[in-house]
Amino acid sequence: MSRETNNDKEKQFTDAYDTYADAIFRYCYYRVFDRDKAKDYVQETFCRTWKYIIEGNEIENIRAFLYKTANNFIIDESRKKKAVSLDNIMEKGFSPSIDTRQKDENYLTGKEVILIINTLDEKYREAVTMRYIDDLSPKEIASITGDTEDNVSVKIHRGLQKVKKLLKDQEHNGVSH
């Protein structure tokens, strides 16, 4: 390893932070719904990645690696603490603003949809969130979660079916004419 390579790696790593910090923050936030915690998780993700690099390991796809590291860390942390419930989320200030007076295709806000997705079972929630909120491909999701691409596609499909049903129920319950 030459001196120049060391310096290049440091530069590449800090560039990767500048590029992906927001995406990793979003990824963490939509799992814990706590801004401060999400920031800590971002820091931990990058520090763990740096440690991996200085141990002499090569990373082919830094973006996927960061997501995977964040995912593993979140799983570890979630095992220590109880799952985040919708009530917890609302207490922290991510209150959905369901307007029951309106009945048109735009009555649900983006936030509300995210909250609805968050009520899914973990396996579907993870797949749908990573696909539609984090904009990751099924292949990337598979490499992050350690699942097969086919299984990921099935989970996304089933998760979406459930979201559709929930949205339909929401729409139905929202009618108040």
Partner: protein, 356 residues
């Protein structure tokens, strides 16, 4: 697509857009970054192996790919005689493990001739360009010096070993000269400066170590290590002169080329200084305080060379700037070699290093 699907897709798009609004504030992003950068400083990447005493690992790494005979014999598409020869030699020896055992041999050991005459020659074939061959030859010089120090720190050196080492050093230096002269790269003069500077730093650092070991050798014939020491001292002076000649040749290059070279060399010098500073701070507890303070002084000299180089850079004297930055690289390199030797060989170096 039906209405329900459209509605659904619209809602999902909304969710995505909403999600994207969530970002770190610029102050938050900078704060996290500062923590990460601090973590990176505390957890540095390993210092370049090419300038550490771990030359054996460098050579063993280059050797290891030939363990895979399928690669070497079946998949190579180059009907290149030297490769075929190299593979044939290894195919013969691999079964007995002689080649790999020889890698750790020292002067005076039974397998030392295998290491020098077979392994290293084969590895030389792997380097295709004259520049990489020259760099490889520099590693061999470093390896020879490390070997002799290891032997001398453990036992006396006999006349035969002393003569062999001197002869090998002569050969390696001749090879460095030949490969450097044949370098066809457009960066030839810069490559020549860097190779000779690298060599000069190693020779100078090892002169200090050998000087110390020569003073310690009590139950053997001191003439043997003394003769190696004198030989290495004279080679250091020669190589230093060749380095200066290369710097003179470099100064004839275009202004743009010199400026770019100086800028790159400045970064290298600063980086090396930082790495070696961390290294000696990290290992402070393993050496006596006098030696540690001397090492710190040397790094101060390196820092001064960088400052002087920066002044030259600003005044447009790029050739001088490059030379000063290269000097800083040399000083940090010598400090690192000596510090490492102190720890590995468990010797005491009386004062240290006089910089030119």
């Amino acid at each position: 697509m039906n209405t329900i699907e459209k509605k659904f897709n619209t809602l999902i798009d909304k969710a995505k857009k909403e999600a994207l609004l969530l970002t770190l504030l610029s102050t938050e992003k900078e704060e996290i970054k500062s923590h990460i950068v601090a973590f990176m400083k505390d957890n540095q990447m390993p210092i370049a192996k090419s300038n550490t005493i771990d030359t054996r690992h460098y050579l063993a790494t280059r050797l290891s790919f030939l363990k895979n005979l399928d690669f070497a014999v079946g998949k190579t598409k180059k009907p290149f005689f030297k490769y075929v020869f190299a593979v044939s030699v290894f195919a013969i020896f691999l079964g007995t493990g002689v080649v790999f055992s020889a890698q750790s041999a020292l002067p005076g050991d039974v397998l030392y001739p295998v290491k020098v005459g077979v392994n290293e020659r084969v590895l030389s074939f792997i380097s295709f360009s004259d520049e990489s061959k020259a760099k490889y030859d520099v590693r061999l010089v470093q390896l020879r010096l490390e070997e002799i120090e290891k032997v001398a720190s453990g036992k006396k050196i006999d006349t035969q070993t002393s003569t062999k080492i001197t002869s090998l050093l002569d050969q390696h230096l001749k090879d460095v000269k030949a490969h450097t002269a044949n370098t066809k790269s457009e960066n030839k003069s810069k490559v020549s400066v860097e190779i000779h500077s690298d060599l000069e730093a190693s020779l100078n650092a090892h002169t200090q170590i050998l000087n110390n070991l020569a003073g310690k050798e009590s139950d053997g014939d001191p003439k043997n290590i003394q003769s190696i020491l004198l030989d290495v001292q004279s080679k250091t002076v020669q190589i230093g002169q060749q380095r200066q000649n290369s710097e003179d040749a470099l100064s004839l290059q275009s202004v743009t080329y010199l400026k770019n070279s100086a800028d790159a060399k400045l970064k290298e010098a600063e980086r090396n200084l930082k790495e070696v500073s961390h290294f000696i701070s990290d290992k402070k507890g393993k050496v006596n305080s006098n030696f540690y303070n001397d090492a710190k002084t040397n790094l101060t000299i390196a820092r001064d060379a960088i400052s002087q180089g920066q002044e030259k850079l600003q005044s447009g004297d790029y050739s001088q700037a490059f030379s000063l930055f290269q000097k800083a690289v040399r000083i940090t390199q010598e400090t690192h070699i000596n510090f490492s030797a102190l720890i590995k060989l468990n010797i005491t170096l009386p004062g240290i290093l006089n910089y030119r």
